[in-house]
Symmetry: D2
Subunit: 304 residues, 4 copies
């Protein structure tokens, strides 16, 4: 029986020290500690392919550098995300910014052209830069026949020095999957070109093959889900049709009761074959109930 | 000042009577009552196009008949949903069932081939029927060039008498949008055919035009979101690029704090232009904090 | 294996019919249906003592009549609640009201003397009536030596015709337990008298004996928790020291992860002896994840 | 306009550095950063009396040392908590421990006499030590006439070297308020003595005077709520009857929609006079949506 050991904070304490102490505490702190151990296992197991699923809008919240670091340091093999994250990443790569708002009035913001995302906003004019990017580069996308290659081309077109998820994935040759790309600012800009009579032909299903192939060809698999949504589900279904994950970390505050995939505990995945039946709760996989903008920095700092 | 009037339950009380009483109570009950009034406004305003966004897995939870009824009774003009809902709908149309589980063991379920969705499960063999459906009908999809027409064709291929969302949308000529269709059992079955060397060419972006056209051409707009996810966001971005909604109802238990679109209050949409700045809280739009499988039957019964 | 049966809404459908249909659906709807069945078992089992724990501020939200009805119809044997509910009940018994607010400004409300409780408020002047009540009746409380008898005396002092929880419990001889009574408007009014030099001597612990005695002397026990808090915990600890509950219903949206009693699933109580190890999940006990102002009217209408 | 600055994790990064970076990010991370700044203001303002309200069961989760440190370092003037925290603190002071469980079976735990609190448990035999403590010291409590003095006496009776909240509050002369003390293991042990014919006379209301006096006599006030429940509400009502708080931090994942005090945003307190109308959101007060076992260590490390 493991005794709960109270967390003792010392002056100038390192994050890694705190996360170690959390592992011996209870409730949510314990889960952070356990997720850190699972992350270490996943990252140090050379047979393990790591699938990272990132929902929501992590880029405007300031999580971009951490994700870029994870990719730069070769921790991630497959990146699945929402169009939102890629749109915000592209916006920043093109010189646009996100801004903080601690008090706001949505009617006033609508007049100012400020698009609010909880306590963050971007200027509506941000879309103009993205539009121009696609206008200027439209012809270069003509050879892209699926979403992955379309996103890879965006990364290629960005400048080397740009601090961008799209760019780093291009440089590190990490495939980006985003089945719902139409549902995003990037989608809107593509629609704008198509509406203007331009052509582009991106297949909706073709990417699935390469993702499932990766899943099939991976000896072991680790999954990290920040939020749920399409990124989690798309990774899960590729595992379901190969073999389940060996390791898993899920960071979400969504509830299981309404039955959606986003709030489902990782354990539910065992029934589907998305997680191995031999995987052990809180040792091989852990559900972390926390805002990802709090938990991710802690976890990354603890394994770095 | 409106006094709170305690809810009085009478013997054999009708749902519509309860929802009326709820409107004069407080907290969540009040929101149900207000959402009912907003639904009535939306449905009785002949200038209003109603966009229904349904996330999650509402079909396995037994919400199919209500959604079908709403479409049958001409309340809905546009249906946006997840691949999950369409896959489960197709499975039931092909004679498969969903089952209840109140106690379970995921490892045991994995052996039995039972795929669990909270307190519901389906048999893994369900996929075989769907696979056969696509195998047998593959050639008939060759003319489908976008996701909407692909989904419409499925509805056409189902038998008249089948009680199905895909079928009723076909019959009523209601377009189904599902940008993340690859992320679903239907997606997996398509992948299976493609992996077997078959051809299909469905464009990932093409649908956007028709959805945004509908938004542009609607004098007034009402939105109903069951859960968030891609369905909510996809409707919202089409409104953002035309004019915002006049009426809105959102049923979700997702939290706003982690910043995702699913948990964002409708009011946030005002800043983006997704909701009209003149729309009034709890009179023109309401956020209902409730499991949709509880709130939707109440709302539908109250307006029927 | 029980098939999920989609809910079918008919015109003028009764609540009891809907709740029956919910029992054959999935997710939260199913839980409502199951809780209704458990409530029927509890209420029809003549050997069963029913403990009702009501947290939060259910009275200002308009739940008073339902609770009064439950007591009037002899469904409840023990009532445990917060000082808030009793204060709001007393305020209404003295002729004060609660009011609805769908849009508000807290700074403005502070100027107007409106005390807000989510989308409900009361006038600050409400306290004056309660103060006067205690001023005028102070001497009559001198024989009350514990919280239960103090609350019973309030009920006795109210007029017969008053629609009040305090009054109906007095009339039906149902003991009210409220260990944290100091933490309420009633507490503040008592403090005001004490600060003015008046005397009153109410014991903080004495009530426990009678509650635990009831628990000991009950052949079977059923518990209904609306919200968690002290009411749930106080009932649970009395069961822990006698024998656990046979039946249980909990309605709350609190989360289990932060480890508090309010969000703990009923099942956790088995380890403590608060719930019998033989009780079956979703058949003898159920956790309903729903705002109590929505779930309680449904449940009460379904068993009435 | 403040740009969102992505969080950059460096090797061996200190917690205080991370919390500083969080303040320039968005979503929940930003709130942690802002709460840290507010905590610094509160602690460095010599005119400010700090009221700490701690709900739930923070001691079994390993938060005891942090709370003790805060008191030792003179950051806290008033401590309001649940009987649960004090019971668990007393148990540990008497040599008992809490244990971790990552996988469990409640029926099995019930046989073993393990009482589960989410992923922590204690042995049922722990109560025996507490019982003996009260048995042996019963006469020493006879002069305690209110809850505060009763709790202070427990602290006095513990040995100097014991690492205990009850002890440190005694040593530092910090009053502990716990209006619902009957609702706890300590309450049960007192009941046991009373049931055995022993006497004790603790007043339920008397403490209110000293708490409200402190509130009245404080030039400025800061509040820190870990969880909600009685501790938050009891502090809030004392402020309501003096003047509202100048600074506030609330850490909870409870929802506002069901209308309970626990989930109410601090801002609601402005209407009641519990928070000053001049206090500024996210600058003077902040609602942190996070498990307190994760947020508290971060905040304390950032201000230490």
């Amino acid at each position: 029986m493991d005794r709960i050991k109270p967390i003792k904070i010392t002056k100038d304490m390192k994050i890694s020290e705190l996360v170690s102490e959390m592992e011996e505490a209870g409730f949510g702190a314990r889960k952070i500690g356990q997720a850190s151990e699972i992350m270490k296992k996943m990252f140090s197991d050379s047979a393990c392919t790591v699938f990272l699923g990132v929902a929501g809008a992590m880029v405007p919240a300031g999580m971009k550098e951490i994700l870029i670091d994870m990719i730069k340091e070769d921790k991630i093999s497959v990146f699945v995300t929402t169009g939102a994250n890629l749109t915000h990443d592209l916006a920043e790569a093109l010189g646009e910014s996100h801004y903080a708002c601690d008090v706001w009035d949505d009617v006033d913001f609508s007049k100012k052209g400020f698009d609010r995302i909880h306590n963050v906003f971007m200027k509506n004019t941000t879309y103009e830069k993205i539009e121009r990017f696609f206008e200027e580069n439209w012809e270069k996308f003509q050879n892209c026949k699926n979403i992955t290659s379309f996103l890879r081309k965006i990364g290629e077109l960005l400048l080397k020095e740009e601090n961008s998820l799209l760019r780093i994935c291009y440089e590190k040759n990490i495939p980006i999957f985003c089945p719902s790309i139409a549902d995003s600012g990037i989608g809107l800009m593509v629609w704008g070109r198509l509406a203007a009579g331009k052509k582009l032909s991106i297949d909706a299903f073709e990417d699935m093959k390469s993702l499932i192939d990766i899943a099939w060809n991976s000896k072991k698999k680790g999954v990290i889900y920040l939020g749920g949504g399409v990124p989690k589900n798309f990774i899960q279904q590729s595992l379901q049709f190969s073999t389940g994950a060996d390791y898993g970390i899920q960071i979400t505050v969504d509830r299981p009761e309404p039955g959606g995939s986003s709030g489902a505990p990782l354990e539910e995945g065992i029934s589907w074959g998305k997680l191995k039946p031999t995987a052990k709760r809180n040792s091989d996989y852990a559900d972390v109930f926390c805002d990802a903008t709090i938990a991710l920095p802690l976890l990354w700092a603890s394994v770095k």
